[in-house]
Structure formats: C-alpha cells, structure tokens
C-alpha cells in the first residue's frame, strides 16, 4: 500500500531547516530515522503535507563528549552510533543499556535517540535513562531554548515542542564520579514488542547521596520518581531501604491495563524491577559497609 501523499524537503543547513519548519509549522513533520514516523504516516495517525528531513544538516550528525559539558547527541545520531561509542558505554552505562534494548538491531541501525524522545511514547526505552541522567533537550525554533528532560514529556505522544520547533540535540551531563546505572526492561518478547515496564536507576556514593529511579510504560509519560532518596535517609538494612524505595515507586506510578498486560501486573513488576536494579547497583557497596 502506498503511503499517503506529502512533499519531502531536505534542507542542507540549520538556517534552511529552521525556516523550512517555520514556514509550515504544524503542517510539517520531521523525519530522522523514520522508524516511528513512517508507521504513523502509514496508519494516518499523523497527516502532514510536508516531511522535513534533518539528515541533510551535517552538524545534526554530531555525537561528541567533553569533560566539562558531557555528551551531546545530535538529532540525526542513530542508536547504533550511540552503542558503538566507547564513551557512552563507559560513562553513560544506563543510557547504553537502554539503547541496546530498544527494538531490534536492524531498527537501531536507523532509529535515532532524539526521535525516540520526540515520539514521546510512554514506553520510550531511552527516556528513563535520560531522566536519571538529568539530560537537557536543546530546542530550536524562532530562538533557542533548553528544556529539562523531565519537563519535555507532556502526555501520551505529546512533548513540550511548539509548532515550528524541533530538537537539535540532547545534552547529557557527566554523571557524578563513581556513579553506576542500569536499565531493566520487562516484556513479552525480546525486540518485537514494547515493554511491559522499564526501570532505569542511577546511584552514587553507596546510595546514600544519590539515588534516581525512572520508569517507562507505567504512566502517560516516562516518569522520574520524586523523593526516592527519602527511602535511604532513615536506618535499616539495605533490603529495608530498597523495600521503602519500591513503595515510593508504586505510590507514584499509575499504570494502565492494555493489550500487553493488566495494570496490577505492571504495578507488581515495576516493584520487582526496581528492587532488582537497586540491589544490583547497591548490593556490593552496602555489603562492605
């Protein structure tokens, strides 16, 4: 079946990209990897008259790291490029792990990280990792602005982007020295399905100073759980602290029942994965203490 009709535009410079989008605003959709957009076009969920390709702009292909500024992931950087980066694997392990669980390797050859967050699925695999890493989204339109990743997701498939705006890059600050992170995903199959629930965690200083937990597929948007550190402030064994963290997580999420499973199962598995990932990240350090 042919796709619905649209015009295709491939600007070669940032300036031309900005003006191409400014002229057409909500009448246009951005294509990067296309792994979400082409499906949305086919299903007529989005019906743009214009599809604007960001891959013609060289600077958007930039994946770079800087001791001071951290990681910059341009809008056209594929998940494969992210996974091939030693810096990402060593310093941003939680993001690397999340990228490695997204869809399948053939999709990852084409799909982009920026596309994953702009699609704003509640199940977006890279979102929890970006949330615990406190990433910043660089938005370009009439001017430039920076949006914290936790303020970027506004609802199911809704973002903070206004018509005429697009994401130039995602910036990920360097995690604190000694920080460890991981992402666990629970699903019906590997690769061919969205997750039932995904949990990302980042800890530093044996879990006393910094503990962040974020989840996907348990609320209208990917969610950074607030006040999780409270669970670790009071005394008790590591198991008790983690149990308190699980209660906080389960009190802050609002999963739905859908084709994949019921909400009770999601709530339960969010607890199991939270406990599992925190034990994995905190276990060894606390045994010593």
């Amino acid at each position: 079946m042919p796709l619905p009709k649209f015009d295709y535009i491939r600007p070669r410079t940032m300036r031309k990209l900005v003006s191409a989008l400014a002229e057409r605003k909500a009448d246009a959709k951005i294509i990067a990897g296309g792994t979400d957009l082409v499906v949305l076009l086919r299903d007529k969920i989005v019906r743009p008259n214009y599809v604007i390709d960001v891959k013609g702009v060289r600077e958007l292909h930039k994946l770079s790291w800087n001791k001071k500024l951290g990681l910059t992931i341009g809008a056209a950087v594929t998940l494969k490029e992210l996974l091939d980066s030693d810096i990402v694997k060593q310093k941003f392990g939680v993001l690397w792990k999340a990228a490695s669980t997204l869809a399948d390797p053939t999709i990852r050859n084409r799909a982009t990280l920026v596309g994953n967050i702009c699609n704003a699925s509640p199940a977006a695999d890279t979102a929890p990792a970006l949330l615990v890493l406190d990433a910043k989204v660089e938005v370009v339109g009439k001017g430039k602005r920076t949006v914290a990743i936790k303020d970027f997701f506004k609802g199911v498939k809704k973002t903070a982007l206004k018509p005429g705006e697009f994401v130039r890059a995602v910036k990920v600050p360097n995690p604190p020295e000694g920080a460890r992170g991981d992402y666990l995903e629970w699903g019906r199959t590997v690769g061919e399905d969205l997750s039932v629930v995904g949990v990302a965690a980042l800890v530093a200083d044996s879990g006393e100073k910094l503990v962040r937990v974020a989840l996907s597929s348990v609320a209208p948007t990917p969610l950074l759980v607030p006040d999780i550190e409270g669970a670790f402030r009071d005394g008790g064994s590591l198991d008790e602290k983690i149990e308190r963290a699980v209660s906080i997580v389960q009190s802050k999420i609002c999963p739905i029942s859908d084709v994949r499973c019921c909400k009770e199962y999601r709530l339960y598995m969010a607890g199991v994965l939270t406990s599992r990932v925190l034990k994995r990240l905190l276990g060894a350090a606390d045994v010593k203490a």
Binding site: V38, D43, R110
Partner: protein
C-alpha cells in the same frame, strides 16, 4: 506531491530514477527496479522481511523513503550471487534445511551476510542478536542459526 530525481547504486549498477515523495525504498526496489527477491509483508518494521543493505548496513526498506537513498548504495538478495555461485550463507541455508516456505529467507541471508562481514566468527548469541529483527514462521530458527554458524566456519 513533490517528485525527486535520485541516483543510487543497486547491486553494483547505477540507477537514475524519479520518485514521488511517498515512495518507500521497498517499493522502489520491487516495483521500479523489478527486484522482487526482497519481500513485502508487514510494512511497519516489525517482521524484517524487507531487510536490505544500505551502504552495507542492514535496514528495513519499508521504513525508508526512496528519496532518502539518493547517492547511496543498496544491496539486495539479488546482489549476493556471483554469476551462478551462491555465497557461503546461501549454501549453508540449503545444507541445513534452513528454508521452508522461503519467504523470510532473503532477509535472513542478507542480514547474516552483513553479520559475517562485520564479525567473521560470531557466537550463537551474536547470531541471535543480529537476527532479532527478522521473523520466520516455519522453521523455528534452529536451522537458520545453525546455518549461519556453519557458514562462519567455512569462510
């Protein structure tokens, strides 16, 4: 709708074609270039049967617009044979009975050929990971995995 003049190399031969904006790479390959070895099934990136190599990289051609491949190099199943000689993966698929209905075979062979080029000695897990995006509804994968591992030993 906008129309675009593009040139691409497919299986070593250059093509100059005009495509409409909404044409997919899969349609271009099957309908315009008349190479029907690449199969069309789900058209939404789930089944992987339309997998081709884009500059050597396995890509689901149903999710790529034809206009996006201007100046790029495409390899399909038709491009893997040299004269009458099948490549190592193709021979191993026959030896191991890794083909039943055959509909998924071009995609698996393409993806496996790319895997062995990138990683000549894959483990079984490497093979499973690399084939993760392609579905087979007949053989149950065992013969496919065995064929790819065997091909890696015979190269």
């Amino acid at each position: 709708m906008s129309r675009h003049k593009i040139s691409l190399t497919a299986n070593g031969q250059r093509y100059d074609v005009e495509v409409e904006a909404n044409r997919t790479l899969l349609q271009l390959i099957r309908e315009d270039l008349e190479m029907t070895g690449t199969k069309c099934a789900c058209e939404r990136g789930d089944c992987g049967l339309c997998t081709v190599l884009l500059d050597g990289v396995p890509t689901k051609s149903c999710l790529v617009l034809a206009v996006e491949v201007d100046g790029r190099e495409v390899t399909t199943i038709e491009g893997l044979v040299k004269g009458d000689e099948l490549n190592a993966v193709q021979r191993a698929f026959i030896e191991h009975g890794a083909v039943q209905c055959g509909f998924c075979t071009p995609a698996f062979v393409i993806a496996a050929t790319a895997l062995l080029k990138r990683n000549p000695h894959p483990t079984e897990d490497d093979v499973k990971e690399a084939m993760g995006g392609i579905l087979c509804r007949c053989t149950g994968y065992r013969q496919i995995i065995d064929a790819i591992l065997d091909a890696s030993k015979k190269r």
